[in-house]
């Protein structure tokens, strides 16, 4: 699948690794002194996050960069985590052998799809300073930590170890560290500040890993700290089998040659996702191969035919063989609420909106788009907005202009949403930051440098849709702010100023204070809504109140709708006014009559949220007379939510039927002696996703 990876795998015994490294350092991330340091931090931190995630540990990571010799640009990097640690006998393999590590063997969303791994860092350190990498590792079941210096025999592609031993690992507070890993390496590198820096990398990492606590000590000794804002670990991702739509000939070849299955129908059903027993037979028929042919004996032209059947070019009964979509539980989105928290803790802002789209499939690869937008606060108003790009939770820091995610942002006319964008071209300007995260089992990059995502019409459209929705949210927010200021003034007028005028004029004229209700109705001549969203310390719930005043001369009837974070676990409680759920995250109450001069309050509490999760409730109305302080329900908005709901339901239904179809019961009725499906089947060679795609 990957040319470089294959070449590497095939030739690594002949080619000196150092030579390979030297030739390919630009896409290994070691092409400049400043980037080398970022890459090293990235490899170590990604490993730490992945290890913690797998072991279900909340990560606490310390990164320290020290200048050893400023003139010669020698830097020492230490990354320490509280992960599970690595057993002593595996250390050598993890750090010394190229391409070792479980993540190369399964198709799922993982950070490690990018880069050559920590071995590259060991190699780079060795090549530039001659120093081995010092590793300290402690696993929970052992009393002491294993220490060892790992170098590389670049000729044999083998680790060299020295000074190995064991020591007691005490934490700063004097307690014995339970488990964790500390990697120290010395390399030729440069520490820089700014948009492309270790600081920025960690800051971005912290945004998309709100469950991590990251501390960074820079060469000047300054400590940067990004706290943990949620105790919730990312969902455990499942490995999935490849989907026929995303498979390429080389991969199919390898799978076939290594298959121990007795016949093609079994091979297809057991090694691919989305292929039912029926579909397996139809695929064979379309490709004109016997379904009981032994996979190992497939001829090249049969393989090509099968591939064409996969792509729907060869048909069954005049139609492409229907395949189910791959399951999407292999993806681990950050999720709206956590993106919001991550952004808010890192960047001071006034408004944040985030959105996780439902998972989708492109070319057999599940993917999911998440976006976030924050606005206001201390951000510069006259500069282009900060674009924060991520692929599988890994920050992308270079080649912004050439990236699909940037292009999707640029394709939106932001002027209609309240941001500057001269000529409706390019990245918009304004006090905002836009986050885009693409989670996928197979992220396609423009080049081996893995800093920009490759063009993909479906994905770009998905990101664009999300951007438009966020844009609408921003516009609504800005309009609402304006209206709220106006409403506040009106309330001040009728609650404070008008009574004062009445009182004072009555005093001066020595007459009784007049009744104000007529004047109030005339002054307001509107229906007004005021809403409040507040954290209630005592109940640990978020209290929402929506007050509707009828300051018109007629009785009014409305349906009032409000948003709540249903997808993020918000549960409506104490909702005395009743009503019903209108769509995901939208509740509706019917107001039969609101007499002139009357007001009414809808209150409810939201359980299942933490403080700061939900700070602003959008209030909508359906009805003829405008409500100041609420928005007229845009039915398109509801349609979009319902549409997403439908897609979600279909996905759930499909993945359920996917599993029922391959259930053991069906097997017996079909009377086929096929093995039970395994949760995941390892592709035969490990390097399939190392560089993420075809060259």
């Amino acid at each position: 699948m990957s040319g470089i990876a294959q070449k590497l795998a095939a030739n690594q015994k002949q080619v000196a690794i150092s030579e390979f490294f030297e030739k390919n350092k630009h896409f290994l991330g070691f092409d400049s002194l400043s980037r080398s340091l970022i890459t090293a931090v990235k490899e170590a931190v990604d490993n730490a996050l992945d290890a913690c995630e797998e072991a279900r540990i909340l990560p606490t990571i310390n990164v320290q960069v020290t200048k050893i010799d400023a003139k010669k640009d020698i830097i020492e990097l230490t990354v320490e985590d509280n992960g599970p640690g690595i057993p002593q006998k595996s250390i050598e393999k993890v750090f010394g052998q190229l391409l070792f590590g479980s993540r190369f063997h399964a198709i799922r969303q993982s950070r490690g799809q990018q880069g050559i791994g920590i071995t590259g860092v060991v190699m780079y350190s060795q090549l530039t300073t001659g120093k081995p990498t010092h590793v300290k590792s402690k696993i929970a079941t052992e009393a002491t930590a294993a220490v060892v210096d790992i170098g590389l025999d670049t000729r044999k592609n083998k680790a060299t170890k020295s000074n190995s031993g064991r020591e007691i690992w005490e934490e700063e507070n004097g307690e014995i560290k339970k488990h964790g890993l500390e990697v120290t390496c010395r390399m030729k590198a440069k520490y820089q500040k700014g948009r492309q820096s270790v600081w920025q990398y960690l800051r971005m990492t912290s945004i998309v890993n709100p469950h991590a606590e990251i501390t960074f000590t820079d060469p000047e000794g300054e400590i940067h700290f990004w706290p943990r804002v949620t105790e919730r670990l990312p969902r455990k991702v499942e490995s999935i089998k490849p989907h026929p739509h995303g498979i390429l000939l080389g991969q199919l070849q390898r799978m076939l040659s290594e298959s121990k299955d007795s016949r093609m129908s079994v091979f297809l059903r057991m090694n691919f996702s989305g292929v039912s027993g029926r579909a397996a037979k139809e695929l064979c028929a379309a490709a004109e191969i016997e379904f009981n042919l032994k996979p190992k004996s497939m001829k090249p032209e049969q393989m090509r035919a099968l591939l064409e059947a996969f792509q729907g070019e060869k048909m069954f009964n005049g139609k492409p063989v229907k395949l189910l979509n791959p399951p999407t539980n292999c993806l681990s989105p950050i999720e709206e609420m956590l993106i919001k928290k991550g952004l808010s803790k890192t960047i001071d802002s006034r408004y944040a909106t985030t959105m996780t789209r439902v998972p989708n499939v492109s070319l057999g690869n599940p993917y999911q788009v998440e976006v976030g937008l924050i606005f206001g606060g201390n951000m510069a108003a006259d500069k282009p907005v900060e674009v924060l790009r991520f692929a599988n939770r890994v920050p992308l820091m270079y080649q912004q202009g050439g990236c699909l995610l940037t292009k999707a942002i640029e394709s939106v006319d932001w002027r209609q949403y309240g941001l500057d964008q001269p000529g409706a071209k390019g990245v918009p300007k304004g006090p905002a930051a836009i986050l885009v995260h693409l989670a996928s089992t197979n992220v396609q990059f423009t080049s081996e440098a893995k800093e920009a995502l490759a063009e993909n019409g479906e994905v770009i459209e998905e990101v664009r849709k999300a951007m438009l929705e966020m844009g609408r949210g921003l516009r609504k927010h800005l309009e609402k702010k304006k209206k709220m200021a106006k409403t506040k003034e009106k309330f001040e007028l009728i609650n404070d100023i008008l009574p004062a005028i009445a009182k004072k004029s009555a005093e001066i004229l020595a007459r009784p204070i007049p009744n104000l209700s007529g004047s109030i109705t005339k002054i307001m001549s509107a229906v007004i809504s005021e809403s409040e969203t507040e954290w209630n310390k005592a109940t640990k719930m978020t209290d929402v109140s929506i007050k509707i005043y009828n300051y018109t001369a007629r009785a009014r009837a409305y349906t009032i709708l409000a948003t709540w974070p249903e997808k993020s676990g918000g549960i409506i409680k104490n909702n005395a006014f009743g009503g019903r759920k209108e769509a995901t995250g939208v509740w509706a109450w019917k107001l039969e009559t609101l007499q002139p001069g009357e007001n009414l309050t809808i209150t409810f509490s939201l359980d299942g949220l933490e403080k700061g999760d939900w700070t602003e409730t959008d209030v909508f109305y359906r009805g003829s007379q405008e409500i100041i302080g609420a928005l007229k329900m845009d039915e398109k908005y509801l349609d979009e939510i319902r549409n997403q709901e439908k897609i979600m339901q279909e996905l759930v239904a499909k993945s359920e039927s996917h599993y029922t179809e391959s259930s053991p019961n069906e097997e017996t009725t079909q009377n086929e002696e096929e093995p039970q499906p395994e949760p995941a089947v390892k592709p035969p060679t490990g390097q399939a996703t190392l560089f993420g795609g075809e060259l």
Binding site: L493, L498, K504, K522, I523
Partner: protein, 366 residues
């Protein structure tokens, strides 16, 4: 000619009608209102009978449907109450003092001194009272005068003091108080042929030092820039009661044109009392646009703001006559302005020996 002064009782009645308008609107279930003339140049017109510019018929209603207007109404009520208290207790205060007193008016307090000044003017307009009736004093700096004219002023002890503005004063002249009404000042006698109002202190002192008032038998008056109400009022009184011509000697720039307009025709802000403040017979002596050329005066280029002001004056009804249109257009063409004191180019005595005699001769005053 001057507006009739109101008694304390009349003033209160007039103010109560303003309060009544608000009160009645509330009783009738309407937003309270205050009705007053539009106070811009689009709503001033020449009053043939009075010979000055007055507000026209355009009225605006300030109603309490927006927060800003509602606050204005509340402030007006507080001001009215405050004035009533002053009338009842025989006190007076400056506009600035009222601004500070408003600190205790809660929601009705003023945001700036400008607001309180404007509101006092609004009340003058709607009640047809004068600031003096309201017991409100301006902060503004009154003029100073030198010349052989005699008046009497009632001092703080209530005694009349006779003052000759040539023999009884020092070099800075007689200081005109803020109230120049009859209860405070009586014009007694004079031996002068005209009054000359001068824009800058430097020029005033030059003429005083050169003895111009005695050589040409005139009263010199220092306007101190845009003249205060009392300055314009005393010019008008002297002009009317003594039947004296008034000439105005200013810098040659668009702002001086405005100063002249406020003396002769009335200021836009005080158009409700123009007949009381303006002196329609006043003449603009200089510096004119043609003086700049004729005397080859050192000049400065017009700034962007100057040009804007001149263009605004072209459409100002007060400058509608052909002489002014010509002067304004000439200045625009010339692109230059000159100060009074630029006459010093030809020596310190040039202004008194040559320029002013020549200009006054044109008017038949020398």
């Amino acid at each position: 000619m001057a507006q009739k002064r109101m008694s304390a009782e009349d003033t209160k009645v007039a103010m109560h009608s303003v309060v009544g308008e608000m009160y009645d609107k509330i009783v009738n279930g309407e937003p309270p209102t205050m009705t007053l003339p539009v106070r811009t140049k689009t709503n001033i017109g020449f009053d043939k009978k009075l010979g000055v510019y007055k507000y026209g018929k355009k009225r605006s209603t300030r109603d309490a449907t927006s927060l800003g207007s509602a606050k204005q109404l509340l402030r007006a009520l507080h001001v009215i109450e405050f004035i009533e208290e002053m009338i009842n207790s025989g006190k007076s205060s400056t506009l600035r003092e009222m601004y500070y007193i408003s600190e205790s008016w809660g929601l009705g307090k003023f945001g700036s001194q400008n607001e309180s000044n404007n509101l006092a003017e609004d009340l003058e307009i709607v009640t047809k009272c004068l600031r003096e009736d309201f017991k409100l004093r301006p902060e503004e700096d009154g003029a100073r005068m030198i010349g052989n004219l005699t008046l009497q002023e009632r001092n703080r002890r209530g005694e009349w003091m006779r003052i000759n503005a040539r023999d009884d004063v020092g070099d800075s002249g007689y200081g005109v108080p803020y109230n120049v009404e009859k209860e405070k000042i009586e014009l007694l006698e004079h031996d002068i042929n005209f009054i000359m109002a001068i824009e800058t202190g430097g020029m005033f002192d030059r003429l005083v030092e050169n003895g111009f008032d005695e050589d040409y038998k005139c009263g010199l008056l220092h306007l101190k820039g845009q003249p205060a109400r009392s300055t314009r009022r005393i010019i008008k009184r002297m002009s009317e009661e003594w039947d004296l011509p008034v000439v105005v000697f200013l810098d040659g720039d668009p702002w001086s044109f405005r100063i002249f307009a406020s003396i002769a025709y009335g200021a836009i802000k005080t158009a409700h009392i123009s007949e009381y403040l303006a002196t329609p017979s006043a003449t603009y002596l200089g510096i004119t646009a043609d003086d700049i050329m004729a005397y080859e005066l050192p000049s400065d280029d017009l700034s962007k703001k100057d040009i804007e002001a001149l263009n605004a004056e072209l459409t100002d009804p007060r400058f509608a006559d052909s002489w002014w249109q010509e002067q304004i257009n000439m200045m625009l063409e010339l692109g230059k302005k000159a100060e009074q004191q630029s006459l010093a180019k030809y020596g310190l005595d040039f202004v008194t020996d040559t320029y002013l005699p020549e200009k006054l001769a044109e008017l038949g005053l020398a």
